[in-house]
């Protein structure tokens, strides 16, 4: 699945800093097309799974755990992520994908991201959730 994901995002140019920039400028439908069509089909998939009480290969019924609804963590965390997304032009998926495409500097991106995640882990109790 990972390989498919990598090829998909790369060929759809979703790994491009310029595409992300373009997305935030609303200059093209492309990135929105990718995300919305994924959501559209995703909605169908999830409803199908729920309707048919589909079981996974592990034998359990596939269950969608409701996420914690307290909004501060999402708005604040999301904004921080969004800023990074625009600045770096990548989110975690593309970081791995571009590393594979030969841009070894992504090791630094990943280390920086891991540092960010680590710092979150450490500061978590003091942050608003």
């Amino acid at each position: 699945m990972g390989i498919l994901f990598g090829i998909t995002l790369f060929k759809a140019e979703a790994v491009s800093w310029f595409r992300i920039y373009e997305m935030f400028r609303f200059d093209s439908f492309h990135m929105y097309g990718i995300i919305f069509s994924a959501i559209a089909l995703g909605l169908v998939v999830v409803q199908f799974i729920k309707w048919r009480h589909l079981r996974s290969t592990e034998g359990q019924e596939i269950h969608f755990q409701p996420k914690d609804k307290r909004w501060p963590r999402y708005i604040i965390g999301g904004s921080i992520f969004g800023m990074g997304w625009a600045l770096a032009g990548v989110c975690p998926g593309p970081m791995f994908i571009l590393l594979g495409s030969g841009y070894t500097v992504f090791v630094v991106f990943l280390l920086a991201a891991m540092t960010g995640t680590f710092l979150y882990g450490v500061l978590r109790k003091r942050l608003p959730h």
């Binding site: 699945m1 990972g2 390989i3 498919l4 994901f5 990598g6 790369f10 060929k11 759809a12 140019e13 800093w17 310029f18 373009e22 935030f24 400028r25 929105y32 097309g33 990718i34 069509s37 994924a38 959501i39 909605l43 998939v45 290969t57 996420k67 999402y74 708005i75 604040i76 965390g77 999301g78 904004s79 921080i80 992520f81 990074g84 997304w85 625009a86 600045l87 770096a88 032009g89 989110c91 975690p92 970081m95 791995f96 994908i97 571009l98 594979g100 030969g102 841009y103 500097v105 630094v108 991106f109 990943l110 891991m114 540092t115 960010g116 995640t117 680590f118 710092l119 882990g121 978590r124």
Partner: protein, 199 residues
């Protein structure tokens, strides 16, 4: 010899992919992962990687059974390999170019970027080790990377986890997350970029 139709298939895949192919493909990937009892979310890997490196000793957040999440690392590894395959074997007829709109190109040129033949490379030049040692490079690569890692886990997910999986599962939390993503992204693009790139 390689059958003709396989070569044609390869050429077809090597064309830039339109959104209506990529989006559904992503949804399909999510479905397969769900079918195997997993979830689709790339940023969880960052947390697992920290835990695997021993971060559990320093913060409770990393004290979890990360070995059970090993499958997600495999997905990430697959993504790495996918990037390699796509870049090496599936380059389109234009090479690795980003087909962005003219309006975006114009705005980039205003910020000081220049492109040969008006062709925008898929990957910007500032993704390089040389650039890392300039203040802008440091800001983009280390700063940007840090914000992504911190923000993604604070929000509990990134584009794959929230925007796609979360919204498909009708999670209100994910809608909040995406609002946050855009608030941050737009702020960066419209307020901070002119400062960073025109300095």
């Amino acid at each position: 010899m390689v059958p003709e139709f396989l070569l044609q298939l390869k050429d077809l895949i090597s064309q830039p992919w339109p959104w209506y192919v990529a989006g559904p493909m992503i949804a399909l990937i999510m479905f397969v992962l769900l079918f195997f009892g997993k979830e689709f979310g790339m940023s969880a890997n960052l947390r697992v990687m920290c835990a695997a490196d021993g971060a559990g000793d320093m913060a409770d957040f990393f004290k979890f059974d990360w070995q059970s999440q090993g499958w997600n690392l495999l997905v990430a590894l697959g993504a790495v390999f996918g990037g390699y395959l796509a870049a090496t074997y599936l380059s389109g007829p234009d090479g690795n170019v980003a087909h962005i709109s003219a309006a975006t190109v114009a705005s980039l040129e205003e910020m000081g970027f220049s492109f040969e033949n008006g062709e925008v490379p898929l990957v910007p030049e500032f993704y390089s080790w040389e650039y890392l040692f300039t203040w802008r490079g440091l800001l983009i690569i280390v700063g940007g990377g840090f914000l992504v890692g911190f923000g993604a886990r604070y929000a509990g997910g990134c584009t794959s986890g929230h925007a796609i999986s979360g919204i498909s599962a009708l999670q209100l939390a994910s809608v909040y997350a995406v609002i946050g993503f855009f608030a941050g992204g737009l702020f960066m693009t419209y307020v901070l970029f002119p400062l960073i790139f025109n300095a």
